[in-house]
């Protein structure tokens, strides 16, 4: 939480940066165990898993990862400035040679995360209560934009894990598999 480690005017922002990085890749100078982070949940994926959908399912892992990339770009644009008219379709990742590979998605995710992180790192605690408009027009404070993305990464990491586990036939708790 930046306690005793950083400028007091940035203690809360530093904490949110930790949460942001931890949710994304379990990273940081003193990371939590990282097992729920988005990137860690991509490690066991094969390229063939990306576009698979289960019975009754409509969203593939590729669709979810594209959505996560778009959200990061949108929240970076609207959480810290006026958004410049960026739309969801604009923010979706564009790939030079479709179909994209897992590596392509990882690269797009890292670029989107870096863009958002750069915005967060540039503010101090007083800026967290500033009010901005979401891309659908509602007013939210800056802290909400950051916390929502923390949640978003981990929530969709859970969905990715479930789709992967159904696809690979290993949807059991680790202690049951052992």
């Amino acid at each position: 939480l930046g306690l005793g480690e950083s400028d007091l005017s940035r203690a809360l922002v530093d904490h949110l940066l930790f949460e942001l990085d931890d949710a994304f890749e379990g990273a940081g100078s003193a990371p939590s165990d990282g097992q729920h982070s988005l990137l860690l949940n991509l490690h066991a994926l094969r390229d063939d898993d990306l576009f698979w959908t289960p019975d009754q399912g409509r969203r593939s892992i590729a669709a979810i990862l594209g959505h996560v990339v778009a959200a990061k770009h949108l929240y970076a644009a609207y959480g810290f400035s006026d958004g410049a008219g960026l739309t969801y379709l604009d923010a979706l990742p564009k790939f030079a040679a479709p179909p994209p590979s897992l590596r392509d998605f990882q690269k797009a995710l890292r670029a989107a995360h870096a863009a958002l992180r750069e915005r967060v790192a540039a503010i101090d605690d007083d800026d967290l209560t500033a009010v901005r408009r979401t891309h659908w027009g509602e007013a939210r404070d800056v802290r909400w934009f950051i916390v929502t993305i923390v949640q978003h990464d981990v929530y969709h990491a859970g969905e990715v894990n479930h789709i992967r586990a159904l696809c690979q036939g290993n949807d059991a708790w680790p202690w049951e598999r052992a």
């Binding site: 306690l3 949110l16 930790f18 959505h67 916390v147 949640q151 929530y155």
Partner: protein
């Protein structure tokens, strides 16, 4: 000693468990779970929504006991039975889950900022700083909320983005 960091952590804890926007938090993802969804396991799957809720509540009770209590709770304690023996009683299980959250939250709320740096025990063994242990538990709620949403959507046949379902 200040409490600004504790207050922010409580905000994150609350948003993960019962968020103000009712989208990604754990309880909001249980709102649309029907009785027939509760114990259902998708083809190729092994875990039901009931067992996942049991797991989340179990971790809250166990972490609370090890971080703030006498650290005697084991994974086969009768209190955490819903993880291995899920009940058909949705309301009762959710109340059990709420109680696990209340216990944990109340102990965090009693801290000041210095307390977040204290190293505490965890059920898996060893000690970690309080702030990092709480980070794991915050992520835990949201991660399993995502899994619950996916299972529910498969059985209810509405696994689509919200804006696709609206059209």
């Amino acid at each position: 000693m200040t409490r600004i960091a504790v207050e922010q952590l409580l905000y994150l804890i609350d948003e993960a468990f019962q968020g103000s926007d009712h989208e990604q938090d754990l309880l909001s993802n249980l709102r649309h779970v029907r009785q027939e969804d509760w114990l259902w396991v998708p083809p190729g799957g092994a875990r039901s929504i009931a067992t996942i809720v049991g797991h989340v509540g179990t971790c809250k009770y166990a972490y609370d006991n090890h971080m703030f209590g006498d650290a005697t709770m084991t994974w086969d304690d009768p209190l955490v039975q819903p993880q291995d023996l899920p009940s058909r009683d949705i309301a009762g299980t959710i109340e059990w889950l709420r109680e696990s959250h209340r216990r944990l939250r109340s102990h965090v709320a009693a801290l000041d900022d210095g307390g977040l740096l204290e190293r505490r025990r965890r059920p898996e063994g060893g000690k970690k700083e309080t702030r990092w242990l709480m980070s794991v538990l915050i992520q835990h709620d949201m991660y399993h909320a995502g899994e619950i949403n996916h299972i529910r959507a498969l059985l209810q046949g509405n696994d689509a983005w919200a804006w696709e379902k609206a059209t």
